[in-house]
């Protein structure tokens, strides 16, 4: 009894210590949510809410009131699903990158690779496109000129405009840009695995790959799963900038993800209420996915992340 009340007091104390931080979270993340009320009004900037007309769920209905729109949204969700799914399927890659990088014996080479592979993360998508342009464009693109010189193709291929393999190509660019950077987290996770475990494994006669299987991978598994679950919750937010930059009429039907579609439709830029509705819906979907993923994790791994 005394044990638990002592524990409770300690728990409260800890809570108290963290209170300022929780306050910061509340102030900067929860307070702005009052803005969600705009979704239910015909709001224009600068007006007092009391002066605007209450429209209930009208804006929500307007989003899908048209059969053409419903079809479009289906297509767009398919693209979002495909891109997000590919992203999730590729999620072990940063971990593998980290694991194999730490197998490199030469410290200098390793550090070099570590630093240099993070470079793409800092290049804005606009510039990525400029570089892609110089390699893949029809008239002056390096690749086309090379292929023609080698005689492998007769006329140029319009790589950038093509609608084939768009999802894979976009995945490729994402990986190029994010792999080195994303591996950092796993480098940290591996660095924190107890040294003694490796020593014990060596004593037991474990080889390189066995150590990976029995020490390294189990060591980073918690981190990996946490990241995986967090990214599942992010399924619907596949980002926009990359797809906006690479989109063109020929690949549009495959590359247009939800965020880009909403942007292209133009309503979001013009009406605060529409923008709020979209944002609200996406938030609800994400939070729901988070709890679903968590429940699945609890069922499968007997562990929940939140």
């Amino acid at each position: 009894m005394r044990e638990s009340s002592g524990l409770k007091a300690a728990g409260l104390r800890l809570f108290g210590l963290s209170l300022p931080l929780l306050l910061v979270v509340f102030l900067f993340s929860y307070l702005p949510l009052y803005g969600w009320i705009y979704a239910f009004y015909d709001y224009h900037a600068g007006m007092k809410l009391s002066d605007t007309e209450f429209v209930g769920f009208r804006h929500f209905a307007e989003l899908i009131d048209n059969p053409v729109i419903a079809e479009e949204i289906g297509r767009v969700l398919r693209n979002t699903f495909a891109m997000s799914f590919l992203g999730i399927a590729a999620s072990p890659l940063p971990a593998l990158f980290a694991i194999f990088l730490l197998e490199v014996r030469s410290g200098t080479f390793r550090k070099l690779v570590q630093t240099l592979t993070t470079l793409p993360n800092f290049i804005s998508w606009i510039l990525v496109y400029a570089v892609a342009w110089s390699v893949f464009s029809v008239g002056d693109g390096f690749l086309n000129r090379l292929l023609i010189k080698l005689g492998w193709i007769g006329t140029e291929i319009n790589f950038l405009a093509s609608s084939d393999h768009v999802w894979l190509t976009m995945l490729g660019y994402s990986l190029w840009k994010g792999l080195g950077w994303g591996a950092i987290i796993f480098l940290a996770a591996i660095a924190s695995i107890d040294h003694e475990q490796y020593e014990a494994a060596t004593v037991d006669g474990a080889g390189r790959f066995q150590k990976m299987r029995h020490v390294t991978i189990p060591g980073i598994l918690p981190t990996f799963f946490v990241l995986l679950l967090l990214s599942i919750a992010n399924f619907i937010n596949s980002g926009m900038e990359q797809y906006f930059i690479f989109q063109n009429p020929l690949n549009k039907d495959k590359i247009e993800v939800l965020d880009l579609y909403v942007y292209n439709q133009g309503m979001v830029g013009q009406s605060i209420s529409y923008a709020t509705v979209v944002s609200m819906l996406k938030s609800l979907v994400s939070v729901a996915l988070l709890f679903v993923a968590n429940a699945m994790s609890r069922a499968v791994r007997k562990e929940s992340i939140i």
Binding site: F15, S18, T117, L119, A191, H195, P222, T223
Partner: protein, 299 residues
């Protein structure tokens, strides 16, 4: 770490391993290299896409022009201050919260943990955010750069996951000795978390260094402009000047090349902004070496 003796398998593995990483690294570097040589090559050659492998007509005018932007020195200072202070605050705040949530006795742990995590997935929109910031006195104020990000939910999760892997015995012995949470955190947990802390530092500092939307909306005083923002504005200005020439009768009086919008300026700005990061990151890499810490401390 003890290496197995040089077998065929070992040599093969290392060959493949090194090659794969070498190739990937080259693929990562090449675009950066490409951008760089374009910024130091003759501008008209660069814009006609003729610079691919080697710079030609080398000059540094693009850099000279960017460095002539007014207020650059002050903006660099602001950016540095913001990065250092913001990162320090976030480091302490986020890790402490992660630690606190890892303690099972935390009052209503599940509730508050979810309270923090869920914020990653919603976003109220720029306008409510702005009004809130205004009401909190964060307009035109340096604190607006560092306070809102004190808690980074993503790293709270990671730190908590990490802490939960530290053997409880370490902390318990301190607890038995009567140490309070603060002491236990700062004296024991914090020092043991080098890798994850280094990760937080890397990600946070880059985020701070690169952000400019908050400057755009919140700051009126040009003394508080950050480097990224200043350069972003400069790029917009250059584009705008070219655009306005287009639509006026005067457009026909200037040399057509003045109508060029400045890809070379954009590239130069990119390089200028990235370089400081490249100098800092290597210093943090020593924390990412395998199997370093726990063993050392426990012994």
């Amino acid at each position: 770490m003890v290496e197995s003796p040089r077998s065929i398998g070992s040599i093969a593995f290392h060959t493949i391993n090194y090659s794969v990483f070498a190739i990937f690294t080259l693929v990562c570097i090449f675009p950066f290299y490409y951008i760089f040589i374009n910024t130091i090559s003759d501008n008209s050659l660069a814009s006609s896409g003729q610079i691919l492998l080697f710079p030609q007509g080398i000059h540094f005018n693009n850099y000279a022009e960017v460095f002539r932007v007014r207020g650059l020195g002050n903006a660099a200072l602001v950016s540095t201050a913001r990065t250092v202070i913001g990162t320090a605050l976030t480091l302490v705040g986020t890790s402490f919260l992660g630690y606190a949530f890892s303690r099972p006795e935390y009052w209503r742990r599940k509730l508050w943990y979810r309270f923090v995590i869920v914020t990653m997935y919603f976003n109220a929109g720029i306008i409510p955010w702005f009004v809130t910031m205004k009401n909190l006195g964060m307009v035109n104020n340096f604190w607006a750069y560092v306070l809102p990000s004190v808690v980074a939910p993503f790293f709270v999760v990671l730190f908590k996951t990490y802490v939960e892997q530290i053997p409880a015995s370490l902390e318990e012995s301190a607890q038995i000795d009567g140490a309070g949470y603060g002491t236990r955190f700062f004296r024991i947990v914090f020092p043991l978390s080098a890798p994850i802390l280094a990760t937080i530092v890397v990600f946070t500092s880059v985020g701070q260094w690169n952000s400019f939307m908050d400057t755009l909306f919140l700051i009126r005083d040009s003394k508080l402009y950050t480097l990224q923002f200043l350069l972003y504005q400069y790029l917009n200005e250059v584009n705008a000047v070219a655009a306005s020439l287009r639509s006026s009768p005067q457009g026909q009086l200037v040399d057509p090349s003045r109508l060029l919008t400045a890809t070379s300026i954009r590239m130069t700005i990119s390089i200028v902004v990235v370089l400081p990061i490249l100098f800092v990151y290597p210093f943090l890499q020593r924390y990412f070496v395998k199997g370093l810490l726990l063993g050392a401390v426990k012994g």
